[in-house]
């Protein structure tokens, strides 16, 4: 931390603060310094850029750029802030993409949402937003949504015409005598989900891929600013339904930090318990989808069979199978009642009964190995270069796991270790999924035992301890909170105003964004058969891709 602090002596800064155990918060004076700062940080080992997040301050007439630089092992992190003017012509900053490749899409997102232009960016096209928002700035506070929406049907027609034009262009671009063509892989495709990959291929060989995303763009980051702090969890949990508990945990931690509230020990353990159950159910779907993409549905069915029992627990706890809304600022929403943990015990027993079968048939499947061990290989260096995280990073042998690096909730008391694989191939990522399910079940066992023991000896009161009061109005402030989500790091950057009743700005950095970014790199030169395999192995959820 000292070395990083020393770096900033060469630059004019407004303040340098230590923030949380692992963060250094720096505000630069000049926007022109950002490239030099990025270079200096990179040469000091902070090789990962988590995200680029602009915040729009209308009254101060400035846009504050936030850069989150991380060490690959995420023990030393640096949060760099810098102001740039708000007028659309002067809203320009140097791009750091030439230094951090991982910022490629994040800067494109900032460009399409806030109109921040990045000089020297290699590919500054709008992303996520639909065609009717091109050239506009939808996330700025003064953007007039109502006026824009007055002509919805017209906007849809514009989107359609743009698509038509693109298709016509594809026909003229290609030599009609060659075997080259451009395939639209999605969104009406059995394996794609709501995403479109523009696959430029020569027969079966892929020449290039350009993902077209934004088919489930719900503008969540804008949506939360219209809701109060509790209501916002509805939007936050819909980041991705597969693992919704952990995204709520991330958001609630940020709120609690600004409100300066310490939640009870019981609530912390409940967050661990619920979060791991949610992670298990997500990973099971992930394994199933991986095999679905290889044309084998049995794995999906068997995993869904086990997953239902874990959803039973969520249902007995919160009343809903998926949209639980179980985590709230101040703790967890519901009390823990008798019988709930027995449902969980049943789920664990069900998992124990089937896990050896699943391991023998699906994790060690020779046909799968013959296909997947040589495909989609990501080296540890590539992980760093493209700022990947979660399962994908750990499958390449990178020891990064926020539950251990920057423990939140009660993870500092949990016995666990990094689960890694060395190969970095698609098969390794599948193995990771299964290993992590096992790890999560072990954590669930621990948490359950801990909760039961402490209820028995009277430390926890399951009907009272679950919530502490969080004031309705929050002071001015900002906070970041990171959680290890099923797919990787989720970074929530929450900004509040004076006496705020609703978030001023919430940036959600979700892992699928980076994972989709590298699809083009991974698939170049492979064949059409490898698209679903690699796409499935990267464990992408379109929900958190588009937000």
């Amino acid at each position: 931390m000292q070395t990083i602090q020393a770096l900033f002596q060469d630059f004019s800064t407004l303040y340098i603060q230590e923030y949380k155990p692992t963060w250094l918060k720096v505000k630069l004076q000049n926007a022109t310094d950002i490239v030099e700062v990025a270079k200096a940080l990179q040469s000091n080992g902070l090789t990962v850029i988590s995200t680029v997040s602009p915040t729009d301050f209308v009254e101060d007439n400035r846009i504050e750029m936030n850069y989150f630089f991380e060490d690959i092992l995420t023990k030393r992190n640096c949060w760099v802030k810098v102001d740039i003017p708000r007028e659309i012509e002067q809203c320009v900053i140097d791009s750091i993409t030439p230094i951090f490749k991982g910022a490629l899409w994040h800067e494109r997102e900032a460009y399409s949402m806030f109109g921040v232009r990045f000089t020297n960016h290699p590919d500054l096209r709008p992303i996520i937003v639909s065609q009717d928002f091109y050239g506009k700035t939808p996330y700025r506070r003064d953007f007039d949504w109502a006026a824009h929406e007055a002509d919805t049907l017209g906007n849809i027609q514009a989107i359609y015409e743009d698509f038509e034009q693109e298709q016509a262009q594809n026909e003229t671009l290609l030599d009609s005598n060659s075997s080259q063509m451009i395939l639209n892989w999605g969104p009406t495709h059995p394996a794609s989900g709501p995403i479109r990959l523009k696959v430029h291929c020569d027969g079966e060989d892929i020449l290039g891929i350009d993902p077209d995303i934004g088919f489930v763009w719900r503008a969540l980051e804008h949506l939360v600013t219209k809701k109060d702090f509790v209501g916002a969890i509805v939007a936050v949990e819909r980041l991705c339904f597969m693992d919704n508990i952990n995204s709520m945990v991330g958001y609630c931690q940020a709120v609690e930090e600004i409100a300066n509230v310490e939640i009870s020990e019981f609530a912390k353990w409940m967050r661990v318990l619920l979060g791991e159950v949610s992670r298990i159910s997500s990973h099971m779907m992930g394994m199933g989808n991986f095999y679905n993409s290889l044309g084998l549905h049995t794995a999906f069915m068997w995993n869904v069979d086990v997953r239902e029992y874990f959803l039973d627990f969520l249902e007995s706890y919160s009343g809903a199978r998926i949209a639980t809304a179980a985590i709230e600022p101040g703790g967890v929403r519901y009390t823990l009642e008798e019988g709930m943990l027995e449902t969980l015990q049943k789920a664990i027993e069900k998992f124990d009964a089937t896990k050896e079968e699943i391991r023998a048939i699906f994790v060690k499947n020779p046909t799968m190995k013959s296909r997947a061990t040589t495909k989609g290989i990501l080296s540890a260096q590539a992980i760093e270069e493209y700022s990947l995280c979660g399962i994908v990073a750990r499958a390449s042998g990178v020891k990064t796991d926020i539950r251990l690096d920057e423990p939140y909730a009660a993870y500092d008391q949990v016995q666990m270790d990094y689960v890694t694989q060395q190969g970095g191939s698609a098969a390794d990522r599948l193995k990771m999924l299964f290993d992590e399910i096992e790890q999560s079940v072990a954590i669930v066992r621990q948490a359950k035992a801990h909760i039961v023991a402490n209820i028995a000896n009277g430390n926890f009161n399951p009907t009272k301890d679950h919530m502490v009061k969080v004031p309705k109005k929050l002071p001015k402030g900002e906070a970041i909170s990171r959680v290890e989500w099923a797919r990787g790091e989720v970074l929530m950057h929450l900004v509040t105003d004076e006496k705020a009743t609703n978030p001023y700005r919430l940036k959600m950095k979700a892992p699928s964004f980076n994972h989709t970014m590298i699809l083009g790199e991974l698939l170049k030169g492979e064949s059409l058969s490898d698209i679903p395999l690699i796409f499935g192995s990267l464990y992408i959820c379109q929900g958190d891709l588009d937000r």
């Binding site: 044309g295 084998l296 499947n365 064949s527």
Partner: protein, 318 residues
């Protein structure tokens, strides 16, 4: 009169229709059991009317002909595919007395008629004016070229062993010893069969996750029914071929007859389904490598083994 009976009822149209309906139901039910599900359940006893409803629906639904395709090619191909797929049954000795066209060249007829089918499916994909259909068509052609060498060599080894191309004679001269001798050929035949019928792990031409539904993509209603019917008729032809060539046809342990023939075919269908439930799809390149690098040399070796066995084990049996 008898010919009319053969064409319309057994082993003709009605027989194939019943086979398609029943086998599709059986596949779904068997697959569901491997998936830990129930499968069709509420329509009829154990859901057995389900596939009847499915096919009736397909026949009464609209058949879309996309604009931009040649309508004749587009609608002719499913009919041709269905007809050609049914033809091999004329040469099969279903029971000791039922062979519609008794000929000395039964094996050749069988092999050629089975081998024509993928080409028709290629044309149906080619005629769909859809990129995914076209890719499916190209894939089916590649797969056909790769798998048929091994398939033919394996299918001809019983003919070599017994010294005849007549299917009836092959069935009659089959014994336990010849069955043992033909086991390697049967295994080769079965692997090639999976590729020929586009079944997992070789369901490359209609790989849903890669190219939507391959050559089926643009077909709907009656046309789709005909293609599906052709697929199931093709199952029957290939299973029946294997039964006659390797498993002794209608000969049973206790009694001879059609029932034994049917049970043997069903057994193969079950093995195929079990493979389907446990094996992911391989890629085009892997399939080509498997066939040309391993199966074709092995089937040549198998021919040598058959000859040696014929001379030394069976004592030059005629």
């Amino acid at each position: 009169m008898e010919l009319l009976f053969n064409i319309t009822i057994f082993p003709g149209m009605l027989y194939f229709l019943a086979w398609t309906v029943l086998l599709f139901w059986f596949f779904r039910k068997f697959m569901a059991a491997l998936h830990k599900r129930v499968g069709p359940h509420f329509n009829g006893p154990a859901g057995s009317y389900q596939t009847l409803f499915d096919f009736t629906k397909l026949l009464t639904k609209e058949s879309v002909t996309p604009s931009g395709v040649n309508p004749y090619l587009f609608s002719l191909m499913p009919i041709l595919a269905a007809l050609i797929a049914m033809l091999p049954s004329a040469f099969i000795p279903w029971t000791p007395s039922t062979t519609v066209v008794p000929t000395e060249y039964g094996v050749l007829a069988l092999v050629v008629l089975i081998g024509i089918e993928p080409f028709l499916l290629f044309l149906s994909g080619f005629g769909s004016d859809n990129k995914y259909s076209f890719l499916g068509g190209i894939r089916i052609l590649t797969q056909m070229i790769s798998s048929e060498t091994a398939f033919f060599l394996a299918a001809l080894s019983p003919a070599l062993l017994f010294g005849t191309l007549n299917l009836q004679t092959i069935t009659e001269s089959a014994s336990w010893l010849s069955f043992v001798v033909l086991i390697p050929a049967f295994v080769l035949y079965f692997i090639a069969l999976l590729a020929l019928l586009e079944q997992p792990p070789f369901n490359i031409p209609d790989a849903e996750q890669e190219i939507v539904y391959g050559f089926y993509t643009e077909y709907s209603g009656t046309n789709y029914f005909l293609l599906k019917f052709a697929e199931f008729a093709e199952f029957m032809a290939v299973y029946a071929g294997a039964t006659v060539l390797f498993l002794g046809g209608y000969k049973g342990l206790l009694v001879d007859g059609y029932l034994c023939f049917f049970l043997k075919m069903l057994l193969m269908a079950m093995v195929m389904m079990a493979i389907r439930a446990a094996t992911p799809r391989v890629t085009m390149k892997q399939m080509i490598r498997l066939f040309w690098q391993y199966l074709v040399p092995l089937s040549l070796l198998n021919i040598a083994w058959i000859m040696l066995a014929k001379i030394y084990l069976l004592g030059g049996m005629a």
